[in-house]
Symmetry: C2
Subunit: 259 residues, 2 copies
Amino acid sequence: MNIAILGAGNVAWHLSKAFIMAGHPVRQIWNRTVEKAADLSFEIGGNSISDLSQIKEEIDLIVITVSDEAIEQVASSLKPRDHQIVVHTSGSTSINVLKPYAKQVGVIYPLQTFSKDVAINFSEIPFFLEACRPDVLTDLKRVVGQITKKVEEADSAQRMNLHISAVFACNFTNHLYSIASDILEKYNLSFDYIKPLILETANKVLQATPKDVQTGPARRHDKNTMQKHLDMLSSDLDKQELYRLISQRIVKMYDENRA
Amino acid sequence: MNIAILGAGNVAWHLSKAFIMAGHPVRQIWNRTVEKAADLSFEIGGNSISDLSQIKEEIDLIVITVSDEAIEQVASSLKPRDHQIVVHTSGSTSINVLKPYAKQVGVIYPLQTFSKDVAINFSEIPFFLEACRPDVLTDLKRVVGQITKKVEEADSAQRMNLHISAVFACNFTNHLYSIASDILEKYNLSFDYIKPLILETANKVLQATPKDVQTGPARRHDKNTMQKHLDMLSSDLDKQELYRLISQRIVKMYDENRA
């Protein structure tokens, strides 16, 4: 397939490369800020375009990777030909926002976190697909199946819940790493010290259920230690509040099991 | 060194094995519930004892791994000989609780999470040591240096902050994994789907600062998506509150950087 990528953020960078490696050339790249489209086209080849009307006849798949709130506006500016499939890559946006603007629409949602400078192995990333018609789904499965082994289907409600899960397990988790980093820095301790623990915590749940491997003062309902920690955090009420809230949740979860 | 382990929980199981593999036999195991001491001695050898007065002359190092609130009580029941070093393994307990009860005291705090059934490679785990005297510290460094490459020193305040960091980066992170698991289960989605994301999130911060790789709706200040997620979580006010609190923290952190 010949592909046009709309947007030039983290998802666009990684997904473009994955398409190209799978033999699907990215011919055109559009971005609201044309310089960013040019940066990406410099990196991967293809042509940057400044106007959505420049999308060519030869394009088979138009992939919208812009931010969620801009998806519908970008879609509404397209004049796709009948043979062109228009997809977005958003977890929390319904397929329906595309339907008024194209005959063939779908969603390809990669459940992964992308940072521009961190290389990604796509073959293990689950992609969740949705399409307006079975034949469009088949087309999408074929192309996506060449960049990952894990092609799944999900409707818009499931996809949003995948996204919410990802926010907790990835975005919020990374924020907890930031908090740990802050605390360590404050006491002249290297963030390196905690890296084996971070990795082990993630590795554990690859083989076990998170509930079964929960550890820590809240898990043991160790009030003494929790109180010491809350006292130590008294100079940072934001962190203290978060400590209290999550600890309460854990205590409650395991008290119910103990009862 | 000949070692006695007091306590038979997760730390005791893993640490005993590490000592033995490093050539330091665990001769005696005590636990408040003697059956648990017997289980551990069945696993690793050595003798389970039911009374702390049974600790023998031949023991060089007494390692207290009981829960934090029980450490002082256990220490107060010991009658250590002058040559015996008494240590605890707690992040949030001062070395001072041991001082009234033994001439040679210290702390060996492994910064790691231990679940009984998950094997651990000790050689990369940082251990934070503290001792009542330089010569005791030297002894502890020698023995601990045989189970890990990463022997560090930390005073009681630093150690508590290491522990608080670990609570955020490990215990609370695992709780976020639990929440993700709940949400997925509710929508008939496999927890397996999110495992590559969990692993990538951890792997990313091995090479980058958490603040630099933060992603997600809150990072982009994408109010629309956050509102959709909050709406979707309205049937579970606990999760909704946590979503709101952490998102607000992230928004604030990056708004300050944008400003």
